[in-house]
Amino acid sequence: MGLKEWTSNPGKFKNLLAMPVQLLMNIVAMPAFILAWYVAFTNWRPIRGDWWQADFIFFDNFIRMFSDEYFIGAIGRTLFILVVVVSIEFLIGFGLAYTLSGEFLGKKVAITAILLPMMVVPAVGGFIFYLMFLQTGPVNALISLITGTEFTLAWFNYPGTALLTIMLTDIWQWTPFMFLIFISSMLALPPDPINAAYVLGASRAYTFRRVAIPMLRTPILIAIILRSIEAFKIFDYVYVMTQGGPGYTTQTISIYLYEFGFKYARFGYVTAQSLLIMVTMGIVAWYASKPLRGAG
């Protein structure tokens, strides 16, 4: 196969262009990835020496994690957070985008204001919300003002309310991301099919449901997949606001892996868990993104 054939065939030429980056990626990432798989089958902890000195324990780590109540708890909690925050962020982000997609005075200012939380460093966002939800903070003060009675809830003392503060922080910070994707997609919709629907007598709501939304399917899917990936990795808010407490009740999977990895130095065990999560998430993402591949 000559160079001419590679350059003259568009499909092969595409591969040729991507090859240097692929090679570089493989050289850099693959050894570490393979090493991670090896470590996952060992009981490596630095206190036992270097990784090549650790005992090979076959599937012990993989079996053990299914009876680890803290691991299972952290996974369940993270999925709960993911479902709640991504759903709410989707609904609010979509609603805002729809509302602001029309023309009105001050539109640019409104869009900029909505996007601002996304610019804040997550740890700082966490700290801001931590201060807001302190017993003497503005949230309690506001509730007291509205209800007319002194409201002094210690939000971080109870599992439910502690988790709620974390989710509210995430929603505050990442709804703008959803909004950004949706509003840019809505503004880019081709006007002809929509105008045609109006001409044929379709109502605004009907047109939106039956014409606009199908055209927005791809950006909706992208937004949900991207936000789900990020929400699954939630770390900063928990670390800053509750440290995973009370007890373990707000410990997410990232906090769990951090604690077991870096505080307890159980690298073999944590690597096995991380790989299992990665594979599982990969499978989920594969099926979730199937419509996208079809669209392409």
């Binding site: 630095p46 036992r48 003392n157 995973g244 373990y248 604690e259």
Partner: protein
């Protein structure tokens, strides 16, 4: 424990012996031809072997050890090593917890001026210092020459090969490590730096938990005295027992006035420290966390009682205390909103801060409360035990290219002369750990900075138990306990359930690390726990 570990040790042993033999031969030859090094002449006749960074052997013992004070001797030794190893102009780098730079900055100019070296800080957030150290143990980069870390972490740091033993340096340079008038306070000199019988750390900060009383006006008020005695049937005074401590806490719990009977450190990751004060006094000579076979003692009746008292005390604190870290508790205390607390010594900085403190001149400290237990000869006694709750020690990296210098610097910074300068620098939180920093004869700078805490400090220190030191996995045992205590304090578990759960988890940790190795380490360390009665 990996079976390949002996291989590593054997290789290390062969390398060490080989290095020492070669060093001895070369050193002897060179030394003979030059008639040995002349101490104190700035290294003009440096003829010792080039064993840069060797922890001991000819490299160490050829360093001159001359001068009138510890500070002088170590400064001379540092100059010699810099000359010997060609280090002038290079950087000596320490990794230490964030916010702790003031202590080093206080002596930085002097060090750089005298030695021609550069001193570099690498500050890491306090909750992440252990993570960073473990990463360094794995990467072996040598980016840090030495570390400021906690004794609870020491077992893991030694076993991961990160830090080197300093016993030879301490013995050779005699930095007044032990004994009065200037040595490190007993038993901190043992419980903080030792692992498996060797010294690995140079003490810089002793976190002896102390009982603070922040309202002498209320303590001495006739009305409060009368009211307390009427309610509890005995006189209001410094608490001798935890029962009295809790009674005082309850009596002064006045949330409507934003005033609370007790303030303690109760955050999810640190609650265990305070708990050990409650726990350690529950059995003579000291209630240990494990028996000699590393079986946890937490789920004993003593452990459960300690947890019940620990939970009860939370009722007399500001409701939000479990989500506060120490600085928030300090702020409340300095604002005059707390009556008493068992706390880190650095609280005294805030209580004595003329700009911030609302209890200036109104606070004092006492020996921590204890528990009624069966003492020696079967008599009932009040046993008092506190903890060395965190503390910081300086550890030399095995991967540093200037191990001798890093170790000498650690000893110089903490010499009786320099430690006072470092610990009284504005913003420093290095707490007392030498005898010349405490008691009636303490350096005047210490008295000015710390106030009344120095009066009872060495007495509290004399009954200080370590917190999960001397074994591997200290941080894992500690965090597991802390999270369970935190949940219990907030109502998730009953005290007995909390202790049973933690004991079960501790057994798992011990098995995972290697029970036999843990037993071996633990047996070597158990003797460091206090036995005296005060």
């Amino acid at each position: 424990m990996s079976t390949t570990k002996p291989e590593k040790s054997r290789r290390g042993f062969i390398k060490t012996v080989g290095g020492a033999v070669v060093g001895l031969i070369v050193g002897a030859g060179l030394g003979y031809s030059a008639r040995g090094p002349t101490a104190g002449d700035g290294g003009a006749t440096v003829t010792v072997t080039k064993t840069s960074g060797a922890p001991s052997g000819p490299g160490l013992y050829s360093i001159p050890n001359e001068g009138n004070t510890v500070h002088e001797r170590l400064m001379n030794a540092m100059k010699f090593v810099i000359e010997r190893d060609g280090l002038k102009g290079k950087e000596l780098t320490i990794m230490h917890p964030g916010g702790g730079s003031a202590a080093y900055d206080a002596v930085k100019d002097e060090f750089e001026r005298e030695t021609g070296m550069k001193f570099v800080h690498a500050e890491v957030p306090v909750n992440e210092v252990f993570d960073e150290a473990i990463i360094e143990a794995i990467s072996k980069s040598g980016d840090y020459d030495f570390f400021s870390l906690q004794p609870t972490m020491l077992g893991d740091l030694v076993e991961s090969g990160l830090v080197m033993p300093l016993t030879s340096h301490v013995r050779y340079f005699d930095n007044e490590f032990r004994g009065r008038p200037n040595g490190f306070i007993y038993p901190l000199d043992r419980i903080m730096p030792e692992y498996k019988g060797d010294i690995y750390g140079i003490l810089q900060d002793g976190d002896v938990f102390t009982n603070y009383y922040m309202h002498l006006d209320k303590l001495n008020s006739p009305q409060e005295q009368e009211g307390f005695e009427k309610q509890y049937g005995y006189q209001l005074k410094f608490a001798d027992t935890f029962r009295e401590y809790l009674d005082i806490g309850e009596y002064f719990y006045r949330p409507d006035d934003d005033f609370y009977g007790i303030g303690e450190l109760r955050s999810a990751l640190r609650a265990y420290i305070t708990w050990f004060v409650y726990y350690s006094s529950k059995k003579f000579p000291t209630m240990l966390p494990f028996d000699e076979n590393m079986n946890p003692q937490l789920d004993s009746k003593e452990g459960i009682q300690a947890t019940e008292e620990f939970v009860e005390a939370a009722k007399y604190m500001p409701e939000e205390t479990p989500s506060w870290d120490y600085h928030q508790v300090y702020t409340e205390s300095a604002a005059g909103n707390i009556f008493q607390e068992i706390q880190f010594p650095s609280l005294s900085n805030r209580l004595n801060d003329t700009a911030e403190s609302k209890v200036l001149g109104n606070w004092t400290t006492a020996v921590v409360p204890g528990s009624k237990v069966t003492g020696p000869e079967g008599k009932e006694i009040i046993l008092k035990r506190t903890v060395q709750g965190a503390g910081w020690i300086l550890l030399t990296s095995n991967y540093s290219k200037m191990k001798d210098l890093a170790t000498l610097y650690s000893m110089w910074l903490t010499s009786p002369e320099k430690i006072v300068t470092a610990s009284t620098a504005p913003g420093s939180w290095m707490d007392p750990c030498r005898y010349n920093q405490v008691g009636p004869n303490a350096d005047p700078r210490m008295k000015q900075a710390r106030g009344p805490i120095l009066e009872k400090y060495d007495l509290n220190a004399s009954i200080a138990a370590p917190v999960l030191c001397g074994i591997r996995g200290g941080m894992e045992y500690a965090t597991t306990l802390s999270r369970n205590l935190h949940a219990t304090m907030l109502g998730t578990y009953e005290p007995a359930e909390c202790m049973e759960r933690t004991a079960r988890e501790w057994q798992g940790i011990t098995d995972d690390i290697g029970r036999n190795e843990q037993i071996e380490s633990w047996k070597k360390y158990m003797g460091n726990y206090p036995t005296i009665i005060v």
